[in-house]
Point group: C2
Chain length 537, copies 2
Amino acid sequence: MTPPDATTALREAMIGNAGPEATGWTGVFGLPPAPRKGAKVLILGAGIAGLTTAYELSKRGYDCTVLEAQDRVGGRNRTARNGDVLTELDETGDVYETHRCDFDRGLYLNLGPGRIPYHHRRVLKYCRDFEVALEPYVMETTANLVSLSNGRSLRWRNRRVANDTRGHLAARIAGTLTEQDAFSGKLFDLLRAFGALDEDGVYRGSTRSGYSEDLDVHDFPRPAPPLGFEELVESEFWKQHFYQPADYLWQASMFQPVGGMDRIVDAFRKRIETEFGDEVLELEAEVVGIEILEEGGVAVEYRREGVPNRAIADYVVSSIPLPVLRKIVRSNFSAEFENAIKVVPYASTCKVGWQANERFWEDEPDKIYGGISWTDHNITQMWYPSNDYFSGKGTLTGAYNFDEDAVKLGALHPDGRLGEARAGAIRLHRQFEREDVVPTDKGVSIAWHRVPYQLGGWAAWDPRKPDHRVAYKQLLQPEGQGRFFVTGDQASPLPGWQEGAMMSAHYVMGQILGAIPLTVTEDVRVPDSAALTQGTT
Amino acid sequence: MTPPDATTALREAMIGNAGPEATGWTGVFGLPPAPRKGAKVLILGAGIAGLTTAYELSKRGYDCTVLEAQDRVGGRNRTARNGDVLTELDETGDVYETHRCDFDRGLYLNLGPGRIPYHHRRVLKYCRDFEVALEPYVMETTANLVSLSNGRSLRWRNRRVANDTRGHLAARIAGTLTEQDAFSGKLFDLLRAFGALDEDGVYRGSTRSGYSEDLDVHDFPRPAPPLGFEELVESEFWKQHFYQPADYLWQASMFQPVGGMDRIVDAFRKRIETEFGDEVLELEAEVVGIEILEEGGVAVEYRREGVPNRAIADYVVSSIPLPVLRKIVRSNFSAEFENAIKVVPYASTCKVGWQANERFWEDEPDKIYGGISWTDHNITQMWYPSNDYFSGKGTLTGAYNFDEDAVKLGALHPDGRLGEARAGAIRLHRQFEREDVVPTDKGVSIAWHRVPYQLGGWAAWDPRKPDHRVAYKQLLQPEGQGRFFVTGDQASPLPGWQEGAMMSAHYVMGQILGAIPLTVTEDVRVPDSAALTQGTT
């Protein structure tokens, strides 16, 4: 499916010929010397893709300026801290302050990306180079909960759901083994190890699901009675993302920056400003028009702190989210491009954050140290902190939901969101009934699809839609004979991931540097955004 | 099986009536006021059980002295650091210095216990109370390796072995579903989610096993081709502890103290010496005789720095490992006790530690950040550090083996052990061929079955042996009408675990305080030490 010429060029330019298992950390090594050193580059948007482009092209001698509409850099990489102002669009499209974050000082919560897979080499490489300290992000612990309301109210520990299911499935196969199975002896042995089956191939429960009662010195640990197979199957627990941690993107080890995801943004900003000057990043510079000039170059009209400005550059690299770009006046773009940017919707997604004045989830009876509890309530999931264990207070991600759930939650006033999120949280932890433990006035929420200059969580690409295939391919090719480029996770195989944003930035940079063809000649495969952000359920 | 009276008394004394899910952190709260405050207690051995006993009984007003044969406290809780002297017994039983640890300063490796399960509440409680900082111990990552030599040489990533096995097993069930299955529709749906099956219930590979090639912007991630089911089954990979991380004792989240496991020992020592005086801990005090006195009390003969001493106490609590206790002169012990201490062997187990001058396993192509690689080589396993990620140097556990493997490795001179361990390590990582990366002169090894005053890793209890049942029960009952007690993980349902040592210490303390009966009236269940230390394979 992939055009061999472009792919080969990309690989060789970025990683050399070392083969797929030796691709280095970021893929930006081995680029040719900049062919147009000193050329003027305007980068639209100071999210991860924009910052990466600015840093790398500046390093290669290009004259970069980043225009960022907001008064902060980072885009969706945002960490809520005391005093932070959160804004969204109201029904009429006007920006308003929804609330301020009132966490105690020192506490924080990642409102956007919250974790880094071990195979996202670009993100890890920049963290290493920029000395952003990383610590493990714990995606799953067997103390996490599954809370289901379908039929009747169920509240199960992860360890029971995971291991009793395994045991029942293994036993089902063991019961069907015949002499005809060429390797049935070994297969039986595997099934026993896989499912914790008895010597006769029956699943009677396992200590993998926990102990039946607390240990005492008189008593070797005995398994808890297993959940019934039919009960498990009827519950449809897997529909609540239960197996998401098995997917490659969420497998151990994952990481998080110590102190918040925006440490990455801070590091980029500091590097760019220190190495290339404060003037590279222009904040509160809202782009309102883009014109591909007939005489060459691209003109960008923008308002800086309300004042109209116009800049002309040799190259423009736009990381502006497509739904925002659609509203900006454009001149001399191709019809194919105009069609492409209209096709893909941006995903609705909300997060809620709580400050808890006691880390009750680490105590009896929960013993939860990180990971995620899943629920069929609108909140969808609750994240527990992977840091500052055993300390006094902590923050919890009290909702992270998608699609209709997110539209519904996001339509509420922030107070209403917290009320809804609290109701979901109480199903997991009774401590949420107590205002003194989890105060409403320290709760935060964000509906990304209502956030100005974002208008969604990520491009909702769907490979089943033919027009998405056309549009995605179009976005990989610059406009104006190689002068206007779209970047960001929206133009990458990893929508919603910082690695995708960096990957796209490197790709565009490769095109600007002449190492990657400007034209994609064959079909491309469109990313499945739902699977890539929520797992293959 | 458990005597209800003793169990009930134990529970109520230790945890109140709050039920099994609300047992607090350690089980030592709610004990009655000390009935014999000021009584003299001699504690033999300053490992975790001895230190716990000394701390808790001292806190309750008992006059405690700990006699420790070695010049350090901690017992098997030992962390190797620069300059540490390692000693073992030679063939004639004499102690000799095997080598010194020559790690660079700041590096360390846990030679004994290395991880704390999230449900080991006593250990966690003491860490919290004593302000021992904890960080996640990563037990498994999907980048870890499985290296098998049976038949032909195989070297697979964990993610492929784990997920391709799941897929094949799920597909096998999917292929057998019939209309008769009352819930086949939902079961089919579960199987698809569990095994990453196609819409037709077939397993054709999954990105859970990794990508077929590095991502590029033209190409949605595609799965690596699956390992064949027959190949997986024929390999018998599960026999190399592959599913140990599924067992309750090794499930996420696990912890390790920041800076080394001996931070726990240091904290106990500091607390005891600060709160109760330096004289509580007597080092280099080797017990040579124990006599239960007819006139009451117990006499202990010991050599302190070579000089004979004798002390008499109201109570003696011995955490001396049974193989060591067997060699100490004993007077007026019951025949039942004499039989009991002879029954259980101690397990042979070795560890090897390497200093690596580059953290090559974190780089391409491995991308390993913690967890364990498994192999059928004598080294059995290799642990990667869960701390100081992305830093310069690091330490690896280059072997942790058992039984005959450990006997064989332990019989070698330390240089020979390192040679053998290097051969096993090279099968996992070619970097072990380079002395400049992994220098031999910075390697350490320990054969716990040859370590003086330890003589093994843990009591190798086996519930299938009737005489073990008799012996284990006997050790839960004091000698001399409640004057001489055996403690340690050796007398607990968690052999080889610090939690077991603390649990036993709390149990003995409960007996001394009169909260727990001295006599066990019914049968007890004997721990299965192999399963509890190596998983149920």
